[in-house]
Structure formats: C-alpha cells, structure tokens
Symmetry: C2
Subunit: 537 residues, 2 copies
C-alpha cells in the first residue's frame, strides 16, 4: 500500500523563512501522524504564488534554493515533493523536486507556461520539454505542474513512459465555476488515458487572487475519490492499492454563491493579516455595498477587529443612517458618526474665489466623497486599520466612483462583484444570519451626493447594465454582438463609452478579490490614452 | 536608384481611424513630395504601440485588418510597409505587410517576441519562424520587426536568403542611454553581416512610455549615414545606389540630460492631449520638484495652458511662497493662492473625539497633504485640466509621499526621476532660460508638514539614498552587493525596508514617464502582500 499526503496549505508570497517552517512542520505531520510515504505540496511552495518580479532578484532565487536544501536535510523518512524557482545557468525554471533522505532524488521542470489572464510565467521562466518519473514502493510516479495537465498530450506521454500515478502541483486561482472546470478537465484526462491523478492546490489570498484549495484525487476511470475542503488548509492522506486510489472522503462542493462569499472573506482576511494590519475600517453609508463589505469584513476578521464610520451629509436620508446603525449593531461592530458638513463648508469657502461664475457639477459631489476619504484615511493611519473601499464592479466599470473619495482605501473587497451579485450575496449572507436590513436591499441605490439622486439618473438600470458590462469587459463582445443579444444600442453605447473613458480611475484603484473570469487589475490590461471607442452609431 | 522614406510618426494607441488617416497622408507625402519608391512605418502602425488587451478584442482586430485593406486601396504608386496585428485562424501575429498597387504583396510575422520589462508580447502574439523578402527596383528587401534584430542570427539569415537591405519596423521606448545601445547593436549587426539596415522608430508618449524616434540608416560597414530627429515627427527619404545608402543628414544626438528633459516634455504633452484635457494644473510648493514639473508642463503645453496653485499652511516658510511666485512669474503662468488652514482646522475638529488620547503622528501631516489633494482635484474637475503630481522617483521608492494627498493626480511627470537627477534637470532647464530660483535648488528639501521638518530627518541624504535605490530597484542588487559597493548597512536597510513596505502606495500612483532602465509601473511588478525582506542584520 502506498500513502500519499496532499498538503493544501496557505503560503506567504516571498516569505521563504515562514514557508520553510510550515513545509517542514507539515511534512513531519504527514510522516508521523498520517504515516504517509510521500507528501505533495502546491506549485512554487517555497516562494508562494505568484512571486512576480521577486523572481528577477538573484538573492531571492539563491535563498529559495538554500531553503530546498535545508528542507531536504530537516525532513527525512518521507518523500517530499515541492515546487521552487530553479536557476540553471542563465535560465529559470518553474520546478518541482522530490526530496528523499537528505538529497534531491529527481526534478521536473514545468512544460507549459501560462501567459494570459493574471499569469505572466513567460516573463520569468523557460519552458522545459522533459518528463520526470520516480519510484516509491514499486509505484512509478510522474510529476506535472498546473498548466501542464490543461494541455492534451502530457498525461498520455507520462503514461507511455510507464507512470502509474500522476502528481500535479498547482496554484490555481478561484473564480466562480472554476472548480468544475478544473475537475472536469482532470477527470477527463484521467479517464481517457486511464491513470489516477493527484491534484494538490494551494489555498489563501494573495493580493487580487484567492486560491481555493479543493485538492482532489481521481482514479483511472475519471472518478473523484477524494476531495479536500474548499478555502481551508487541510493535510490529508490517500491510500493506493493495486495502482488505484482507495475511495475516501469527498468534501462537498459549495454552491456558487456560497463559494463566492467564502472567496471574498478569505481574500480580505489574508490581505489584512499578510500585510500586518490591525483589523479594518470602512465607511458605512446605509447602502447595500457597504453593508455587504461590513459583513464580509466581520466574517473575515471578527467584529472586534472592524470599525465602521457613518459620515452623513445634508443629502443623506434618515433611513440611510438608521440602516447603517442597524447593520453595525446586528454585527456587533463599533461605529462612529462624523458629519462631513464642516469640511465641505470649509472647502466650498476656500474655492469660492476660483469657482466664481462656474456652475455646480460633479465637482461638488466629488468634494463630499473626498472629505469622507480624508476622514477614513486619517482613522486608518492613526489606528493602523486597513481602510476597505465599498465600490462594486459595475461602478468600477463605468467609473461611477470618486478617485481619492470612495475609492480611497487599501483593499476593495467587492471590486469584482457586479451590482446584481451584490444583492444576491447580501440575500445569501442574510440566510446565515440576518445582518442586512431588507430595506437596504430593496430601496433604489443612490450615491446621496445631490438632492434625491439615484443611480439610474446616470446609468441604465443594473438589470440591463450588468449583462452589458459582462459581455463587454469579460467577454470582449462588440456593440453589435451585445445588440444581437437583445440590448438597446443607446444603453450599450452609454455603458461602454463610460468603460472606455474610465481606465484612468481603475488604474489607481486598490486591489480586490478576483471572483469572475476576468477582473480589473493584472487580469485586464488596457491603455489609458486610447483612441479605441467601442461605441457605434 | 532606390528611394526609401522613413515615416517617423506619432500614433494614437487604439485610434485606428486617426492612424489610418495619418498613414495615408504620410504615404502620399512620401510619394508626391519625396518621390520615394517605398515608405516604411513603425511597428504596429495601425494600432499604435502597445495596444495591450485591446488585442484580445475580435472587433478591434477586424477593424485593424479592414484598415490595412483600406490603406492599400487608398495609396497606390508607392510601396507601403506598415505593421498590424494579424489574425490567422486562432493565432495572432505581430506582422508587417508590404502594400503595392491595391494589394498585399507580402507579409512578415515577428520572430522574437519580447516578454520582459514593459513588454508583454507573448501574452498576445505567436512567434513565427519565417523570413520574408520582396523586390523593389532590383533590390531584394527583407522585413524584420524590433526585437528580431536584437538577437544574433536573423540579420545573417536574411542576408543568406539574398537580401540587399533589411528594413526594421520598431516601437522602441526611450530610457536614458537607449539610443546608443540601439545604434550600437544595429551597426554591429550591419557590419558583421555586411548589409545596410533601415531602422524606423515611432515617436510620441503613450501612458508610461515615450518613443523617441531617432530613426536611422546604417550602411554595410556599420556606419550611420542618416539619422532623423529625436522626439519629433519626421518623414525623410534616403537614397540607395549600388546597394548602399547615400550619405545624408544626421541629426545630432542630444546630451543625456537634454534627452531626458525632452522625453519628460513629450510624455506630458501627449498624455494631456491624447486624453483630451484642456491643459494642466499643479500645486506649487516652492520646492524643486514642483518647480521642475511646472517648467516641464509649460514647455509641453505653453504657459497659457498651465495653472499653478500655492496652498500654504502654517508650516510653509515665507521663502517657499516667494519662490513659488517667482517660478510662476518667470514662466508666465497664472497662479492662485489658497491657504489650507480652514480645511485642516475643520478636519481636526471633526476628528477630535475619535482621536482623543492619541499622539500626533504622520496622520496629521497626511491630512494637510490630502486637503491640498482635494483642492487641486476640485479645480481639475471644474476646469477640465489634468492634475500633475510632483513626486520624484526617490520619494516613490521609499513611500515618502501621501496617498490621495500629493500623490493625487492623473499624471506624474517626474515619477521616474531620482531626486539627484531632479536637481540636474533643474540646472539644465535654467541653462535654457532662468526659471527656477537658485535658492530652490540649493536649500535642503522639506515636505513642510511639521515645524522645521527636512527630508533628512526621515531619510538618508539623497547622495546616499539615490545610488542605493538604483542598485536595489533597478539592478536587483542585494544588501550584501550594495554594502560591497561602499554603503553603510544601516542606510541600506533603512532605504530598502521602506521600498519593500511601500508597494501598496506605488500600486495606486498615477502613471508617469519612464526615463530609466526600470521604472515603476508595468516595468516592475511586485506583490503587495509579501514576506520578502531584503534587509539583513
């Protein structure tokens, strides 16, 4: 019998020392508590993923290599399979090694380097073309890394080379539905080729990305015989007999809405703690966006680590303040109320001379939003709490937000959540416990920066806007395509011309959790100065 | 005799219609005024460079193709060589075509795709492996694109295939010294292989990049026989006889300091106009950074398009206000003075309750900077003028700047200019005409956010800081390397720990002109949440 441990752990990008300690502890646990013959870690274990331009630093690469040697010395009595950036002459490889009894038994270098979406692997690594097999207890085991098995041919090639089992080390980030895509591709490969696969994914938040874990083992018929939990660290063992994995526990898959919520919570938690903040702070407006962000923050950090600030103006309706207080109280969060009028009045007077003869426009709305930004950043600076922004993806898309105002903050939890999904996530969160008043979900959304303002004064209704944005931003559809899908040209042109014109705002936005197939940030790289206009007449 | 026109023009990324019009006019000029047989445009002429993720849009790729066909129809009687993104089945190529008498005579697909620094070409394009030759007036001419000729072998291969001349279409961005690197490599290739080369580069600013032109022709002995101007549009013709280019005019190369200044001016000019702003606005502190940015802005846009705002506080020294006024007057720029005290006082009172029992720290300094940010952004919003930030590269490196305060703005002209170079550029600008008072250059730099504050209270002197930063940020040197270069460990550790910790600020900074081998932005991609610490004990 062969026992393989899957080490689904949370790593810190760049944190070679802390990662090393965790790897050693995990390997010892797999050896001593799980009696595993072999423990498999995620892709680029030593450095975390993605290390980005740290990979260009010779000292960093040297430290990573030393760490591999140290781990080999430290952990014996179990085979350890882990990933690290391996420098050979002038070439850097995304490698996996097998450590056995103090030495390096074998190595594998990633063949297929993703260079799309959030991935930039060809910026750093050279692609290799060799397979790599090693033996444990009479099993011949092949190594692969992440993108390798998304491509036809490599699994087959390993089988032909004599492999009984294929291990794959992964850093596969979450987006809605990704897990089904992942399992479907791996199961199909296993079935077609007729070989079991052991898929180990990392978990944890890293800037814009969340790795969702859900490592799994599939038998040679393409059936999932083991699945680790989503969004949690887990070290488990799977037994193999007669070249097949033995049926084990399968953590159930969460519903899509539940997994999105969990991704947001984990993304916030890891961003706050990995960056060393003492909790989080946010502005609570009585609107649904900040209500949802508050719930996410509390679920991520605990109520005692979160503070809310109400900053009413003369345009703020009473029900907004009432609802904001209800939200804070329902979640047990400390809140402050600071009216912004004194600062707005001061700025208005200071600008009186230069603004003589001009008309009121969005400038005056932006001043209000920026006064709130100044207050929140002051509290963030003073108390060491990370300021969370509350803007959603629909707003980020069309620029319905104030730079240095409501966009001010270190992390934007729902930046990749379209408005309609904000409502769904709020309803979902209320099924766990009632924390967002129903009125907040049902009343028409408003920025409350002018008298009786509602979002629909400036934008198409979200039920029309969101599908248009998804097609334009995430699917690269043209106006003609979107029109053919049943939307009015006026609505489409209005929406996408706003998207085109607001790249400069997005460029200065804080990072947030990617939960859709294409988020803003590393995932979507647009020029600011651009003559491209999607609109058509 | 063969006449080849070099079309060194300024293109708009994404602006297929405007680019098409300019290409046609330029080609007609080359045919009718210069009697050229052939006109050569820069890389990706149709789309501008770099079009980034616009290349993922099927409608954009289709428009680009249609534009090539339209140009072929529109311009006859001259061979037109231009670049465009060419989709073939599912693959996209970075291609060059020769248009002759309404049709596509031949095409070349780029062989070597840069995927380092600011370049992401492997994200979009597939590399090809074929050469491409065509004939004009008995000359056999080979096509290459930019990175192709930086690699050994391709020039040789083309010569062996029978080429008499090699054309190369380029989008080669500026950094200090780049032009010498470029000419040296091309001249060496020409000399070694024994073949003349025609190098056409684009000019103009595009977000973080400035293309500096300086297109040139080199004969088969490796001598430059023609050079177009740096930083200017220019369409020129070079004659070939007996397979050699005839000696022509060579625009002299600017000194390094002069070319850096011109790059900054062109970068600002194109960012403002390509984004449709009505001029620029900036805060003028009396310090050297804002003095230099003002001069750049005026040289880029004209004095009537620029406005300055003095925003003194109780910590602002009289000489700062006096010098700021002298600067505005010397350049003939309209200026306003708005004291920030009323807003600072308002915020202080508003925060009084929540800040009870806390000590004064950088929070209070940040509030001042953010009040200035609110004022400047209000004026920018109201008058449609782009707000220029005035922070330099040393500050951006160590985070000596306030997010949403002095970092607020749409463009950061000197973001890639280290402080010592700020001084040199100021001295240089004064040699053209005296616009920056000497006292501004010689007095110790200060943020003036606290009583008697100077930068050296918080940072090592710039004469020490700047070389450390260059080694750490631009050259990936370790502390040990920098120490070996003669710097104190304390200074190094202080500087680089600040660099490591301030990635979150840089991520929200506006774009600025790249003038060094490695700028912040697309050029340097670091994780925010990171355990990497360069410091050593």
């Amino acid at each position: 019998m062969l026992k393989i441990a899957l080490a689904q752990i949370n790593l810190l990008v760049g944190g070679i020392q802390v990662n090393q300690k965790k790897i050693i502890q995990t390997a010892e646990y797999a050896r001593d508590q799980l009696n595993a013959d072999l423990v498999v870690f995620p892709e680029l274990t030593i450095t975390g993923y993605p290390p980005e331009d740290l990979l260009l630093r010779p000292d960093f690469i040297k430290q990573a290599k030393q760490s591999v040697l140290d781990i080999a010395q430290a952990v014996q009595g179990i085979d350890v399979v882990l990933g690290f950036p391996e420098k050979v002459d002038d070439c850097l490889y995304n490698s996996a090694v097998v450590l056995r009894e103090g030495g390096l038994l074998t190595r594998y270098r990633k063949n297929v380097l993703p260079n799309f979406g959030v991935f930039d692997e060809q910026r750093y690594f050279k692609a290799a073309h060799q397979s790599s097999l090693f033996s444990v207890k009479g099993y011949s085991i092949a190594l692969t890394i992440c993108e390798d098995i998304w491509q036809e041919g490599l699994v087959e090639k390993n089988k032909q080379a004599g492999a009984d089992i294929i291990l794959t080390l992964n850093a596969s980030p979450f987006h809605a539905g990704k897990i089904h895509q992942r399992e479907s591709i791996v199961c199909q490969q296993a079935k077609e080729v007729g070989i079991p696969l052991v898929y180990v994914n990392m978990i944890g938040g890293q800037d814009e990305l969340v790795f969702d874990g859900a490592s799994f083992v599939v038998d040679s018929k393409g059936e999932v015989v083991f699945r680790a939990a989503e969004f949690e660290e887990q070290v488990s063992v799977v037994e193999f007999e007669a070249k097949q994995p033995i049926k084990n526990s399968c953590s159930p898959l969460y519903s899509e809405i539940s997994s999105e919520y969990k991704a947001l919570v984990l993304g916030v938690k890891d961003y706050v703690y990995k960056n060393g903040f003492k909790g989080a702070i946010l502005g609570l407006s009585g609107g649904v966006d900040s209500a949802l962000v508050l719930a996410i923050a509390v679920d991520a950090l605990g109520a005692d680590q979160v503070e809310a600030v109400l900053m009413p103006s003369k345009y703020t309706q009473d029900m907004s303040n009432e609802d904001a207080i209800l939200e804070a109280e329902a979640l047990g969060v400390k809140y402050h109320t600071i009216a912004i009028e004194p600062a707005v009045t001061a700025f208005t007077a200071m600008l009186n001379d230069v603004f003589t003869g001009t008309k009121r426009d969005t400038t005056e709305e932006n001043i209000q939003a920026r006064c709130r930004g100044v207050l929140l950043m002051a509290m963030s600076n003073k108390f060491g709490k990370l300021l969370l922004t509350t803007g959603n993806k629909s707003e980020m898309s069309v620029g319905y937000a104030t730079l240095y105002g409501d966009m001010a903050g270190g992390f934007a939890p729902i930046k990749d959540v379209p408005k309609l999904l904000v409502y769904q996530l709020s309803e979902y969160r209320n099924t766990l416990s009632a924390v967002i008043p129903q009125r907040v979900i049902t009343r028409p959304p408003s920025a409350e920066l002018a008298p009786d303002q509602i979002d629909e004064d400036s934008l198409p209704p979200y039920s029309i806007l969101d599908p248009i944005l998804e097609m334009y931003v995430e699917q690269d559809k043209s106006v003609a395509d979107i029109h053919a899908a049943g939307y009015q040209k006026d609505d489409i042109n209005r929406a996408i011309s706003l998207v085109d014109r607001n790249e400069y705002k997005r460029r200065q936005a804080p990072p947030g959790v990617k939960i859709t197939p294409r988020a803003f940030g590393r995932d979507r790289r647009y020029p600011i100065a651009s003559g491209y206009r999607g609109v058509i007449s």
